[in-house]
């Protein structure tokens, strides 16, 4: 079941320059594993070495932040769209 994955500009260089790629998986974790299989340069960019979501990215399935769903265990259905976005923050504090 291929799922569309929307890549942020900063990661497109690791994904053949594409804005949207496809990944297979029944859960978000499986889909990210499949992404890294296709694009080894993405290793460590979305999921840390200890298998949790990187704190520098926000991942959405459709309109939902997966941190408020089941994180990497979030189930995927046909037609879902995964969006990966960099966390954007700053300030002098």
């Amino acid at each position: 079941m291929p799922i569309d994955v929307r890549m942020p500009t900063v990661l497109r260089q690791h994904a053949g320059g594409q804005a949207t790629v496809q990944a297979n998986g029944d859960t978000l974790g499986d889909a990210v594993e499949d992404l890294v299989r296709q694009f080894p340069g993405l290793a460590g960019q979305v999921v840390t070495d200890d298998g949790t979501l990187h704190r520098f990215v926000n991942v959405y399935v459709n309109d939902d932040d997966v941190r408020y769903l089941d994180k990497l265990d979030t189930k995927l259905s046909e037609g879902d769209v995964i969006s990966i976005l960099p966390a954007v923050a700053g300030g002098d504090g």
Binding site: T9, V10, P86, G90, G91, D92
Partner: protein, 135 residues
């Protein structure tokens, strides 16, 4: 160089002024690789702070989708400094997510808004000229 459409400049500065005393933030979108911001997306600062900002990620998602539908992409982020100059703080530099982006600072320190833009790559900050088109 970063070129800003006049509406983008007006909307960006207006949003920063509206949010005082908090830091305001938002995204800029334009044609890929052109260095021209054609659309401004004000985005909520979830920190609701005068000293830090964190861009609301759902706002980012919506801006990204809208830009994509227009054939544009997010090319940069702006935020205000309400009490310091328009120069990236060490935290701004440390947290800059994308070396391809334009990092726009809007300083409100001296009343009138001062807009400056920077490229940030591997912790190195380089200022670039900002041109408001049609001015």
């Amino acid at each position: 160089m970063l070129r800003l459409a006049p509406d983008v400049h007006r909307q960006m500065v207006g949003h920063c002024l509206d949010r005082v005393p908090e830091e305001a933030c938002g995204l800029l979108a334009g044609p890929p690789g052109a260095g021209t911001a054609e659309v401004c997306y004000p985005v909520k600062n979830v920190d609701e702070s005068a000293r830090t900002y964190t861009l609301d990620s759902l706002g980012f998602l919506r801006a990204d989708r809208d830009a994509d539908e227009r054939g544009l992409e997010v090319i940069g982020v702006f935020h205000s400094h309400t009490h310091t100059d328009a120069y990236p703080s060490p935290t701004d530099v440390d947290k800059a997510p994308d070396p391809g982006w334009h990092y726009v600072l809007v300083s409100l320190r001296h009343g009138e808004a001062v807009v400056r833009s920077y490229r940030i790559e591997d912790g190195n900050v380089a200022e670039e000229p900002v041109v408001v088109e049609g001015l």
